[in-house]
Amino acid sequence: MSKGRAQADEYYPGPVHQPPVHIAGTHVEHTHGHHPKLQHHFDTMAQQIEASTLGMWVFLVTEIMFFGGLFMCYLVYRTASPEGFAEASHHLNVTWGAVNTIVLIVSSLTMALGVRAAQTSAPPKTQVAWIVATMALGAAFLGVKAIEYTDKFTHHLVPGPYFKWEGKHPAAAEMFYSLYFCMTGLHALHMVIGLGIMMVIGIMAWRRQFDADYYTPVEVSGLYWHFVDIVWIFLFPLLYLIGGHFTE
C-alpha cells in the first residue's frame, strides 16, 4: 500500500473513538466515590484484588522454580547414590520431622481461617487471633528446627572441614547433609520472612483495616504461607523418610 498518509487517514481515523469512559485528568478535585483502599491506577476493587492475587501466584511460580533447583540437585545425587542417601537419612529424627509437618499443616488451617475471618468481616480480635495462632505455630516450627540443627552441630554432621561420618558412604552422607541444610535452611528463611509478613498483617488487622470489601493483603499473605507449607510437605518425606523400612 503506497498511498500517501492523508488517504490512509481517510479510511483510518485510528483505533480510538469517543465517548470517554472515565476522566483521567489532573487531580483538581478529589472526591472519593470509591473505596479508600482503591489504588488510582486500578478502575475497580475487583480489578485490584484480581491483579494482586495473580501477582502473588506469579511470584509463587518463581518460588517453585527457586526451590526447584535444589530439588534437581537432590534428584541427581540421590539417583547417583541411593543407599548413601538412605543411610544418611537414618540419622534424622522422624518424630521431629513429623511434628513439624503437623505444626505447619495446623498453621495452614489457622491461616486459611484467618483469611476467611477477614473475608466475612469477623471482628478484628478474631482475625488477629487466627494470625497470632499462625505465627505461634510458625515459631514453634522454627524452634524445632533449631533443636534439630543443634543436634547436627553436636554430631559433626555439618558439611565442611568438620564433617565426620562413621557409616559406609561418607561422601554421599556429606552430600545429603549439604542438601539437607540448603533445603531446610532456605525453607526456614522463608518461614522467617513469613513471620514478618504475618506481623504486618496482624497489625493491620488489629487496626481494623480488613473486611469483606478489602482483605487483599490477608489473602495474598495466606497464599505465601500455604506455599511455604507445601514446600515442607515435599521436604519431609524426601529428607526424613527415605531408605525403606527403618527402626525408630
Binding site: Y11, V61, F66, A80, M175, C182
Partner: protein, 533 residues
Amino acid sequence: METLNYINNGQGLASWLLTKDHKRIALLYLASITFFFFLGGLFAFMIRVELLTPAGDVMTADTYNKMFTMHGVVMVFFFLIPSIPAVLGNFLIPIMIGAKDLAFPRINLLSWYIYVLGGLFTLTAALSGGVDTGWTFYTPYSTAAANSHVITAALGVFITGFSSILTGLNFIVTVHRMRAPGLTWFRLPLFVWAHYATSLIMILGTPVIAITVLLVAAERMLHMGIFDPALGGDPVLFQHLFWFYSHPAVYIMILPAMGVISEIVQAFSRKNIFGYSFIAFSSLAIAIIGFLVWGHHIFVAGQSVYAGMIFSFLSFVVAIPSAIKVFNWTATIYKGSVRLDSPMLYAFGFLGLFTIGGLTGLFLAAMGLDIHMHDTYFVVAHFHYIMVGGAIMGYLGGLHYWWPKITGRLYPEGWAKFAALMVFVGFNLTFFPQFVAGYLGMPRRYHAYPDEFQVLNVASTLGASVLSVGYVLPMVYFLWSIFAGEKSPADPWGAKGLEWETPSPPPTENFYVTPIVTHGTHQYAPSKEVGIV
C-alpha cells in the same frame, strides 16, 4: 506556558527517586543501564587492546581473565537483560494498552532499586580486583580454586535477578488485567506480545540461576560441596542449572528487540504487519521451546551423547519461530512505502545481522560441528551477532523511534543516520573476522594467540573502535536534543498505535481520557477487521 507532562509534573530529586510513575522509572533505568553499558564497553576495550598483538603483553593472563569475565557479567546481567524491557517496556506497555500505569507501580520502583543494589555489588567486585571465572562461573573453579571476588559478584547477579523477576511479574499481571476496554489479545501491539513472552521467561528461568549462584556463594563461604567432585558432586550439574536459565536468558535479550522491530517495520513501511498472529505465536513458541535447548552449551563438557542429540534436535526446532518472524518482517517491508529514517536503518541492520547470527547458531547446534567450534571465536562471533547485531540494534532503533515520545524532542536525523551507519560498519568489522578466526581454530578466553590470527584480530579491534564511536554519538545528540532539540508533535512519524495518540511527552496519567479500542491498534491500511476491504 508549558503543559503538564510526566517530566515537569513534580520537581526535585525526591520526586524522581520516589516516583511511582512507570515513565519516570523507565528514565531511571535508562540512566543506570547506560552507565553499565559503557562500563561493559570499557572491559571490551581492554580485551580488544590486548588482542591487537599475539603475545600477551598488555596484561597478565589473570587480568585478561578478569576483563572478559567482567565484560560478560556486566553486559549480560546489567545491560542486555534489562535494557529494552526496563526502559522501553516500562515506558510503553501501559500506554500501549491504554492503562494509567503498570499493575504494581511500587514494585516497579523497587525493581529499579534492586537493580542498582545488585549493580553496586558487582561494581564492588570489579573495583576490588574483579572476578576471573568467566561470566559463566563454572565449577569447581569458581567454588574451590578461584581466588577472586566470586562471592560478591555472584551475590550481585543474585540480587539483580530479582529486579528481572519483579519486572516480568509486573508485565504479566498488567497485560492480563489492565488492558483498555475493547483491547483484546489479538489487537495488542506486537511489542506487547514480545514483552509478555519475555516476562514468561523471566519468571520461569531467573529463579533457577538465582539458586545456582547462591549455591556457588554458599560453597565458597560455608565450604558445603554441592558441586564438589571430591564428594561425588558433578560440575556438569552446575552447568545444567546455569544454562537452564542462561539459555532462555538469551531469548529475554532478543524477544523485546524483535518486538521493537515489529513496530518499526510497520511504521516505516506504512503497512500492516504480515502475519500478525504468526509473529505473536512465534514469540510464545520461542519462549517455551527456548527452555528445552540448554544442553547445547554442554555438548563437550561430559553430558551424555543421547541427551546431546535431544538438545541438538530441539535447538534446530527453536530456530523455526525466529525464521518465521524474519520472513514476516520481510514480507511486511515488501511493497511497503519504505522510509529510511534512522529507526528503520537499525531495523534493516537487525534483519541482516540477526539472520546471520541465528544461522550460525544452527552450525553450533549440530553436535559434530560444535566439537570443533566450541570455545572458539566462532561462538563468540555467533552470540555477538545476535546480542549486538540483534538486541542492541533493536534497543537503539527503539530508543530512536520512541525518543520523541519519551522526551518530547526530536534528535538530529542526519547525525542519527551517520551513527547508525557507523554502528553497522563497525559491528561487522569487529565480529565478522571472529567467525573466520574461530573457524580456523582460535580459542576464546586466551590473552595470547598464534601469530597467524593477528590480521583478523587487528581488523576486529579496528572495527570495535568504529563501533564505539557509533555508540557514543547517540549519547551526545540525544543529550543535546533534550536541551536544544526541536519540540516533537504527538505523532512525528505518522505511526499508528495508542502511544502516538497521546501527547509527546505524555501526561503523568498517560491519557486524558481512557481509550476505548475498537480494532487493532496498528492498522495502516484497510483490513477486514474493521469492515473496510
